[in-house]
Amino acid sequence: MTFASVSAVTVTLLLVGVFIVIMMNLNQLADNIENDVEIKVITDPAADVEDVKLLKKEVQETAGVATVIYSSRDEELDKMISSFGDELNLYKQSNPLGDALYVKASNPHETAEVAAEIGTYDHIYQVVYGEGKIEKLFNVLTMSRNVGLALILALLFTAMFLISNTIRLTIVARGKEIEIMKLVGATNSFVRIPFVLEGIWLGVLGSLIPMGVISFAYYELYTQWEPKLQNELFQLLSATPFIFQVNALLLFMGVFIGIWGSFMSVRKFLRV
């Protein structure tokens, strides 16, 4: 009986834990992708170095701008060559391009507004950014986050339902005992206390393995992969606070479900 409850808590919390870890990290990835959205400001090829410097400063001070990176016209030409073929090398003699500023908005969702604002400044040839594409990307990201959140909530509720179901069944099997206790003069709270304590115990016991497994696995994963992911878009959440947070959540859920499950189940039999 107890084994059934504890193992139900264990497997469900393990699954919930794994999902939370994955979802949180994917969320992080989504953040990173969002933050990767740039506005490319192409300066007027006629503008001189001072003009560009001033423009850069002006852009930097624009509300909503997070970072501005300068890329010279020669660097730009190199980029063009590498994606359109070496035959463009002949333009190195007389580079037709302007300098570029790569701008990131502090809130990626305001990219369009920031771009429009910058477009009004002097010495600008063109402001380029994903436009339609970025909105699409944001839509996809928002949708995936919502789906992910919905899934994790669904999983959580399923877990809670199943665990309290299991606890309830173990207590149903003890309905006769509760009835006897009441007939011998026990008050409701006297009957309830041991069951609630047992619920807490079940919850704690059931969350130990998930906590251990997830802590260990994530720590291993983190120490092994973090160095390799240094320069990637995808970054693992830093192990130390994250593991504790997940553990606290799992323990809380286990105990909460344990108490709640016992409480609800005993209630049914107290009406004797």
Partner: protein
């Protein structure tokens, strides 16, 4: 004092197990409840500690009106009444000692008192040797004696026993009757449903005959018997 007025009980399946019962049992009385199988003896008894509630009519136990008793207070009623259940109702996960001690734990008796009282009462019913055994390791008669021990351990004002000797051999039955006599002589009211003609006819007390949910005879110093 137990007073029933016009008590009527119809079970959900339509069986009328109490059909207008009027009775007064004074403090300190010893009452046998007899009658054929299915007559309504257990129902009569169950209504006293509120395992069943009457469909209509009123019941007073020790000046507690069961009709207006809030369900929060029911445990306190039950603590004044020791019950020997016809089907024993022992807690399967507790051993003999713990089953008896349970009746004292609910009233928050001190551990020392519990130890003393439980050991005394187990000796009284002859189960000292089996104190550490669990209900499923006991014979029918032993289980019945645990139920008896539990019913008297907290010296209740009223003891209600539903066929307390049904699974006991005659010798043990007489021993149990001696115990009941003894606590009755100290002022405890005893209501005992029984089929044991020999006991009823030997240890004379008030006899209430229940037939078809009605009290058909009620005699002080009565004998076992009814028309059927």
């Amino acid at each position: 004092m137990i007073v029933m007025k016009d008590v009527y009980k119809k079970y959900p399946n339509g069986v009328v197990a109490a059909n207008g019962i009027n009775v007064k049992i004074a403090r300190g009385e010893f009452v046998y409840v007899v009658g054929p199988s299915g007559a309504g003896k257990s129902t009569f008894i169950k209504m006293m500690y509120r395992e069943e509630t009457p469909t209509s009519g009123s019941i007073m136990i020790n000046s507690i009106n069961l009709a207006t008793l809030r369900s929060k207070r029911v445990p306190y009623l039950r603590r004044q009444i020791g019950v020997v259940f016809q089907d024993f109702k022992l807690l399967p996960k507790l051993n003999v000692y713990e089953n008896v001690a349970f009746a004292l734990e609910v009233i928050e008796e001190t551990p020392k008192q519990i130890r003393k009282k439980v050991n005394d009462v187990l000796a009284l019913v002859g189960l000292t040797q089996k104190a550490r055994m669990f209900p499923n390791e006991l014979s029918g008669g032993e289980q019945q004696r645990v139920s008896i021990a539990r019913s008297i351990v907290n010296s209740p004002k009223v003891v209600i026993a539903d066929e307390p000797t049904g699974n006991l051999d005659p010798d043990t039955s007489w021993d149990i009757m001696k115990i009941f006599e003894q606590i009755n002589s100290r002022g405890t009211t005893i209501v005992m449903a029984t089929h044991n003609k020999e006991i009823v006819n030997t240890i004379r007390h008030r006899v209430i005959v229940v037939e078809g949910g009605m009290i058909t005879r009620d005699e002080y110093e009565g004998v076992y018997g009814y028309e059927s």
